[in-house]
């Protein structure tokens, strides 16, 4: 299909949103229609995307194809068209979003069936896909920004999908506001870019950036730092990661689609998209890599001590996103994107799998009217018996995320670590980042195995009555899991490293080259070769396996008590369990003071006290008081009147003679 039909991929889910939205308001019970329309539009969009991708595959374009839809904002030199850009990078993203999106939509048909907000859910989900596609297809920063904020909105709506719980609504709001902090950075970056390059089109940025900025200069560093602030918000990096764990309040398919596979990777996408800028700003790149590596390690460490199955996955996502930034920060943009893709597969699988588990647990508790936590792993155990398909698929995903060769995660993670190690030759600090990455990989393997062990192995702790009701999810849910499982396993073929040979020159790196070449020219990637490479690979593999084994052993070493009987954590475990108290610190250092200052100082004191009290009512009161005083002078005594009269007369005579 001709790329000019690309708008259909956006229009289809948007139409789905409209249909489902109207149904949600008018006929919330029409679940049949919703079940058809919701995933249907996505599959159609995927079909369109696939056929366009096929066209691109056969005839890769040299230059990005820009398809203007209409003139959007125009003022003076600023001319922003609402136009879409099709190139190798957006095509990859397109496939991931529509593909994984379709699978998750199908899964949701089963998962959300019982929910009264079924139509609303699909409306939001469709809208999200539409915005996500605008984000990746937008040909300029402002259009991208439409999608950028749009997905944030959908994320907000979906996190707070069960809005009756205050905690959920809080989580949604938190997500949006933290994202807005990032958006602030994107906005400032846009302003700077516009006033230096004169355009916000990506093609223009790529074309003019090398001449407009001095490589390594302050300006470009500032621009990229602000851009990265946006990326950190959207992709949950330190210090803005705090919203993502809370975002697990949304339905699990949402966590899979938005908070694992697609939206949260938008930051990585943006760095890749503006790679020309980052490649010209080594300091910023270093910051990106550093923040990524630190986040990877930091989040992974928190993941070690979480009991909520989704929280573990959430911190895992934050950690994996950190990997991606470590990659793009090391100028290995294609590696970042590669990990983005494989992560989309295995993390979506993990989330959906956990969804399947929660689904089962929920049913079990629902049947017995128990109010236990269906997401707490301490209440699970031994589930492999009841959910065999889910168990096996999640085990595959665990190997993938842990980086066990030859699962997909192994290749992408290895490429990132290699790139970081390679950059170490230039900036030794990258060795530290690499070490962080390796440590994080160890922890990843550990906590994933811990998750598997607590969930699927050992004795079942759900309860004797509840066990009766534990059973595997329907086919409509396991089907997508199977496909994702396959992708998680073989995803590595997308970009096989050199030592595997053969297909390597056909890989993702090659495919993305037209897009990333200008950046590569500024900052070439140094991949270690030969023996170094081999050592790194072996070390990474061993790390993964060591982590897995350790996780397995450690978890099953002693019996696990169920959630309600669990005693409090002690020592450092407690710090980890409480996520280093970061939320509490933010709350008491930023949020509460801000609200208090706003209420007590700005509103009560400045506004009501000083301006309105002293200034406005004060002057009114002063006038009234003066008037009252003047009235007192009017005592009714004629003698006084005469005295004032004569005094006035004397003054007047004096004034004349003077």
């Amino acid at each position: 299909m001709n790329p000019s039909w690309i708008w259909l991929t956006i229009a289809l889910p948007f139409a789905g949103f409209l249909v489902n939205g109207v149904l949600a308001l008018a006929k919330p019970d029409a679940k049949r229609v919703v079940s058809l329309v919701g995933p249907g539009v996505l599959l159609a969009a995927f079909a369109v995307a696939a056929s366009i991708f096929a066209g691109l595959w056969t005839h890769p374009p040299e230059e990005p194809i820009v398809l203007p839809l209409w003139a959007w904002i125009g003022a003076g030199a600023l001319r922003v068209n609402f136009s879409l850009q099709v190139d190798q990078l957006s095509a990859v993203m397109l496939m991931v979003v529509t593909g994984v999106g379709s699978l998750i939509h199908i899964f949701s048909v089963g998962y959300m069936r019982e929910d009264p907000g079924y139509a609303r859910f699909f409306a939001y989900l469709n809208l999200f896909v539409a915005f996500m596609l605008i984000l990746i297809l937008g040909s300029s920063l402002p259009v991208l920004f439409v999608g950028w904020e749009g997905v944030g909105l959908c994320s907000y709506l979906l996190i707070g999908f069960w809005y009756q719980e205050k905690a959920n609504a809080d989580a949604g709001k938190k997500a949006f506001i933290v994202n807005r902090i990032g958006d602030f950075g994107v906005l400032i970056a846009m302003f700077l870019i516009f006033w230096t390059i004169g355009s916000l089109e990506f093609t223009d940025i790529v074309k003019h950036a090398p001449s407009a900025y001095a490589a390594g200069g302050t300006l470009i560093t500032v621009i990229t730092m602000f851009l990265f602030l946006g990326c950190a918000g959207k992709s949950a990096q330190i210090p803005l990661y705090v919203w993502l764990p809370d975002a697990m309040a949304g339905p699990t398919p949402v966590s899979a689609l938005i908070h694992a596979a697609t939206m949260v990777t938008a930051g990585v996408y943006l760095v890749a998209r503006t790679s020309i800028l980052f490649s010209m700003a080594p300091v910023s790149s270093m910051v990106v890599a550093g923040v990524g590596a630190t986040t990877a390690l930091f989040a992974a460490s928190i993941g070690l001590r979480q009991y909520d199955i989704k929280k573990v996955l959430a911190y895992s996502t934050v950690s994996q996103l950190g990997y991606m930034f470590l990659g793009v920060g090391s100028a290995a943009y294609s590696a970042g994107v590669f990990h983005l893709v494989t992560h989309a597969f295995f993390k979506a699988l993990l989330f959906l799998g956990s969804g399947s588990v929660i689904h089962a647990m929920h049913h079990a508790y629902h049947a017995t009217h128990s109010h236990e936590d269906a997401q707490d792993m301490r209440n699970m155990g031994g589930l492999s018996k009841y959910l065999p398909a889910t168990y096996w698929l999640m085990l595959l995903a665990t190997f993938a995320i842990a980086g066990v060769p030859p699962f997909s995660g192994f290749f992408s993670k290895d490429e990132i670590l290699s790139a970081a190690f390679g950059r170490g030759a230039e900036h030794p600090v990258f060795y530290v980042f690499w070490a962080f990455g390796v440590a994080a990989a160890l922890m990843t393997a550990f906590y994933m195995m811990r998750l598997m062990a607590m969930t699927f192995w050992g004795e079942n702790r759900t309860g004797t009555v509840e066990q009766e009701h534990l059973h595997e999810a329907p086919a409509i849910m396991t089907g997508p899991l199977v496909i994702l499982g396959v992708l998680s396993v073989i995803g590595g073929v997308l970009n096989l490293p050199e030592f595997v040979g053969g297909l390597s020159h056909q890989g993702l790196e090659k495919w993305l080259e037209p897009v990333l070449a200008p950046a590569a020219k500024q900052m070439p990637v140094h991949m270690p070769h030969g023996s170094t490479e081999t050592i790194l690979i072996v070390a990474a593999s061993l790390t993964a396996i060591a982590g897995l084994v350790a996780g397995w052993k450690a978890t099953l070493a002693k019996p696990i008590t169920v959630a309600k009987a669990a005693h409090e954590e002690v020592g450092f475990a407690r710090v980890l369990f409480n996520k280093y108290y970061i939320d509490e610190i933010y709350q008491s250092l930023i949020v509460r003071p801000l609200v208090a200052i706003s209420r007590l100082f700005l509103w009560k004191f400045v506004d009501q006290g000083v301006i309105d009290g002293l200034g406005v009512n004060g002057s009114g009161g002063l006038a009234r008081a003066l008037g009252w005083l003047g009235g007192r002078l009017q005592s009714g005594q004629l003698g006084l009147y005469v005295i004032v009269f004569v005094a006035g007369a004397v003054w007047l005579l004096h004034a004349v003679i003077r």
Binding site: G631, R632, Q634, S635, G636, Q637, L638, G639, V642, I643, V646
Partner: protein, 98 residues
């Protein structure tokens, strides 16, 4: 010529009248002080007439007429107030104030 001294005398008389109005509290005395002021001015007119012709002297007659009219009206008003307050002391006349 006694113009200068006459004017000075007139000014002094006028001032005495003013001071009287200022310090006295009896309505009738007050009014008498005003009459004194009017007559002080009359003295000025007469004195100035010696320099400028009879215009000033004409004025004196008018002033005397007016003073008579004022006296008639004024005393009537003072009587009216006396009927209400049984006093012509201005201290007691302060219903209107504020």
């Amino acid at each position: 010529m006694l113009l200068g001294p006459s004017l000075v005398l007139s000014a002094i008389l006028f001032s005495i009248g003013v001071v009287g109005v200022m310090i006295r509290r009896n309505a009738i005395v007050l009014f008498m002080c005003v009459e004194l002021m009017l007559n002080a001015v009359n003295l000025s007119f007469v004195a100035l007439s010696t320099a400028h012709g009879f215009g000033g002297q004409v004025m004196v007659f008018f002033v005397m007429t007016v003073a008579a009219a004022e006296a008639a009206v004024g005393l009537a008003i003072i009587l009216a107030i006396f009927r209400h307050t049984k006093s012509v002391d201005l201290k007691n006349i302060n219903l209107l104030q504020g």
